[in-house]
Symmetry: C2
Subunit: 143 residues, 2 copies
């Protein structure tokens, strides 16, 4: 999660919403790390989790990240939650909760849907304080 | 929708689930067209809609596709539905309904969630017969 937080801080420095994600392979080695890049890439799908999933899948040469774990600083949105399910992520760790845009414990609760065919093990609240503080500072400075 | 069906047929020829998508700009000109490429790209996020959104955003140089319309042969999944919302797509036309994996009229019903901040105008059932038949033939041949 330390590395995910670092990616979030780097995203903030680029003017992006500070969210970072890391994917770790079955052997514990880091496969991919990314920060949010929606503005820089001019891509509404360029959330940290999506970029990390795409990079890890490219590295493994497989569309399913079996036995891989994902760390992200904020509760994933519905788009990312569904992508995490498609990618067959084993364990999902996240930092701050997102009542406004989250898709796991809020809104559509993607993993609780009968149409969701893979649900990772969930570990919310990891480094929650630091992850949330990064977001609060970012938005405070922009208002 | 004719062009989206063509992309779906091309996807089937590549061994992909036959789904195609097209994005049309405010002036009625086509901005992007894509078929499903999850296998070819080894990317669990490479659904036709996602690829079309990313290509159109890159073309416009903007993460929001204001006044653009999206045509897709199957009801979008929750990941694509949320991406369509983020991209601010104006009108969404789709072909066949997807009771097992759809995210608009089925499952998490993304656009009906209070956490969904943009809902496009919805036009389901366009060329529904042909779009559904492509999928039925594809899965029948693989069983």
């Amino acid at each position: 999660m330390e590395r995910a937080l670092r990616e979030a801080r780097l995203a903030a420095e680029r003017g992006e919403v500070p969210i970072g994600a890391v994917i770790v392979g079955p052997d514990g080695a880091m496969l991919a790390a990314a920060g949010n890049r929606t503005e820089q890439d001019r891509d509404p799908t360029a959330h940290a989790e999506m970029l990390a999933i795409r990079a890890a899948a490219a590295k493994l040469g497989a569309p399913r990240l079996v036995d891989c774990d994902l760390y992200v600083t904020l509760e994933p949105c519905p788009m990312c939650a569904q992508a995490i399910s498609f990618a067959r992520i084993r364990r999902l760790y996240w930092g701050a909760a997102d009542p406004k845009g989250g898709g796991i414990e809020h809104g559509p609760r993607i993993f609780d849907q009968p149409t969701c065919h893979h649900k990772p093990e969930l570990y919310p609240g990891l480094s929650e304080g630091e992850a949330g503080e990064l977001l609060r500072v970012f938005f405070r400075e922009r208002r």
